[in-house]
C-alpha cells in the first residue's frame, strides 16, 4: 500500500493520464460501435428468422446458420479469424476496424437470439389478429409486437453488452491500443501491476455502470409498465 501511494504521483502524471484517457476513449468507442452495430445487425437477423415476416424459407435458414455458428466461436478465435481474413483479402485496415468488426459480429449473433426470444414471447395470437386485418409483417412488428417485446429484449441485451465491453480487453491480443493494452504498457514501463490494473479496473467499472443505468431508463421508456 505504501509502495502504491509512493508511485501514485508519478503514475497519475499528465502524460500517463492522456495515455489512459485515449485508451479509455478507444475502448468506449469500440464498445459503442461494436455493440450498437452488432445490435442493429442482430435485430435484422432476428427479423429475418421470423416466419411471420419472412416467407422465403432459405433466407431464414441463412440467418439461423449465421447465428448458431457465431454464437459458438470463442471471441479470441473470431478476432484472429477476422484479423487474418482482412489481411488475406488484402485490406489494410486499422486495429480499430478489426476489433470493432469482431465485437459487432459477436454482438450480432447474441443480440439476434435476445431479440428472437423477445419476439417469440409475444403471444402468436397478436400476429394472427394483425395479419387477419391485413397488417404487413413489418407493420405488425413495429406497431404490435415490438412494443410488447422490448421489455423482454432489453435486460439480457444490456447484460450482454456489459459482458462485451469487458471482452473488448481481448483485442489487446492483436496489439490494438485499448484500455488493457495501455495498462500492460504502463506495467512494462515499470509501474506496479497493482496501480496499472487497479486503475483500469475502475475505468471499466466507470464504463459499464452507466450502461446498466441506461438499461433501466431505456426499459422504462420503451416498455412502460402501467401497473
Amino acid at each position: 500500500m505504501a509502495a502504491l501511494l509512493e508511485e501514485a504521483p508519478r503514475f497519475f502524471g499528465y502524460y500517463n493520464m492522456l495515455f489512459l484517457g485515449q485508451a479509455f476513449a478507444f475502448t468506449a468507442l469500440l464498445s459503442l460501435v461494436g455493440c450498437g452495430g452488432g445490435f442493429v445487425f442482430g435485430f435484422g437477423l432476428a427479423v429475418l428468422r421470423s416466419e411471420r415476416i419472412v416467407r422465403f424459407a432459405p433466407l431464414r435458414w441463412v440467418a439461423t446458420v449465421y447465428v448458431e455458428l457465431f454464437r459458438r466461436i470463442p471471441f479470441l478465435v473470431k478476432l484472429m479469424v477476422i484479423f487474418f481474413a482482412f489481411q488475406l483479402a488484402g485490406f489494410d485496415v486499422s486495429g480499430f476496424v478489426v476489433a470493432a468488426t469482431t465485437v459487432a459480429l459477436s454482438a450480432s449473433a447474441f443480440s439476434a437470439e435476445n431479440v428472437r426470444a423477445g419476439l417469440e414471447a409475444v403471444h402468436k395470437n397478436q400476429w394472427d389478429a394483425a395479419e387477419a386485418m391485413n397488417m404487413g409483417g413489418l407493420t405488425a412488428l413495429r406497431r404490435v409486437i415490438l412494443p410488447q417485446a422490448w421489455r423482454i429484449i432489453i435486460p439480457p441485451s444490456m447484460t450482454y453488452s456489459v459482458g462485451l465491453v469487458k471482452s473488448t480487453s481481448i483485442v489487446s491480443q492483436i496489439g490494438v491500443f485499448e484500455l488493457t493494452y495501455a495498462a500492460k504498457i504502463l506495467n512494462q514501463k515499470g509501474f506496479s501491476a497493482g496501480i496499472c490494473f487497479g486503475t483500469i479496473l475502475l475505468l471499466y467499472f466507470a464504463l459499464c455502470y452507466p450502461l446498466n443505468l441506461m438499461a433501466a431508463r431505456l426499459e422504462s421508456k420503451l416498455a412502460p409498465s402501467r401497473h
Binding site: 395470437n125 397478436q126 394472427d128 394483425a130 387477419a132 391485413n134 407493420t139 410488447q148
Partner: protein
C-alpha cells in the same frame, strides 16, 4: 350466387387433414352457424377463410370472384371483406380499446384519422363500452375485451363477420353481454358466420346451421331441422348430448 361460396375446401395441419371437402354457402345478410364437437374443423374453416392457414384444395368465391389464397394480392383483397373475432379476443395488449379499434382503419386502410376515431367512439358506444375507451386490454374483463374485439372487427366495415367461438373463453356471467352485442349486429343485417357452442343462441339467431365432424360438413339445415329433427345419426347424437344439460 350467394355472397360466400365454399366448394370442396380441404386443409391440413402438417400431415393431418383438418378440413375435408367442405361445401358451404352464405347469402348476403344471412347468419350461418357452425356447430360440432371440438376438433371438427369449425375454427380451422374460419382460419382458412381469412388466409391464416393455406388451403390444400378447393375453391372459395366471395362476391362472385374466386379467391386465390396463393396470391398475396388476392389475399389482401379477401381480408378486406372479412373480419374475424377470435376466441381469445387477441386484442393488441399495448393499445387502449380506442387504439385497438382505430389502428387498422388508419394504418392499413389509411383513412382519415379524425373520421376513424369518431366512428370508433360510436362503435365502442354501441357495444356498451363508451366508458372504457382508454382502458388497456388487461384492465378489462373478458366480456369487455371481446366487445372491443367486435368493435374492432366492425371498424373494418367487413362484408362478412367471422365469429370464432367468441364466448368460449368467457366466464358464464359474461357470455350474455357478448351475445347481446351479436344480436344487435344481427338486427343490423350483418352477414355472419358464427362458430359457437351456445346452442340456444344459435337456434335463435341463425338462419342456417352447419354441423361439422372430423373435418367434414355432415349436415346443413335450418335450426329447426338440426336441433329437432336431424337427418344424420351423427348430428342427432351430438345434439342429444349437448342439449341434455
Amino acid at each position: 350466387m350467394p355472397h360466400l361460396v365454399i366448394e370442396k375446401l380441404s386443409a391440413d395441419y402438417g400431415a393431418t387433414p383438418v378440413l375435408i371437402d367442405v361445401d358451404l354457402a352464405v347469402e348476403r345478410g344471412e347468419i350461418v352457424a357452425i356447430i360440432g364437437p371440438s376438433g371438427s374443423g369449425k375454427s380451422t374453416l374460419l382460419r382458412v377463410l381469412t388466409g391464416l392457414l393455406k388451403p390444400r384444395a378447393g375453391h372459395v368465391h366471395v362476391a362472385g370472384t374466386e379467391v386465390n389464397y396463393a396470391s398475396a394480392e388476392a389475399l389482401r383483397k379477401v381480408r378486406d371483406r372479412f373480419a374475424i373475432v377470435f376466441q381469445q379476443f387477441n386484442l393488441f395488449q399495448n393499445m387502449t380499446a380506442l387504439r385497438n379499434v382505430t389502428i387498422a382503419p388508419t394504418i392499413v386502410k389509411k383513412r382519415n384519422a379524425a373520421e376513424v376515431e369518431r366512428e370508433a367512439r360510436e362503435l365502442l358506444t354501441k357495444v356498451g363500452l363508451a366508458h372504457r375507451i382508454d382502458a388497456y386490454p388487461d384492465e378489462m374483463s373478458g366480456g369487455q375485451q371481446q366487445r372491443v374485439a367486435i368493435a374492432r372487427a366492425l371498424a373494418l366495415k367487413p362484408d362478412i363477420l367471422l365469429l370464432d367461438e367468441v364466448t368460449s373463453a368467457l366466464d358464464p356471467e359474461l357470455v350474455a353481454e357478448v351475445l347481446d352485442t351479436i344480436r344487435l349486429l344481427a338486427q343490423d343485417g350483418m352477414t355472419m358466420l358464427i362458430v359457437s357452442h351456445e346452442m340456444a343462441f344459435v337456434r335463435e339467431v341463425a338462419s342456417k346451421v352447419v354441423f361439422m365432424a372430423d373435418g367434414r360438413v355432415v349436415e346443413v339445415g335450418p335450426p329447426a331441422q338440426i336441433f329437432d329433427a336431424p337427418e344424420t345419426t351423427r348430428c342427432a347424437d351430438f345434439v342429444r348430448r349437448i342439449l341434455r344439460h
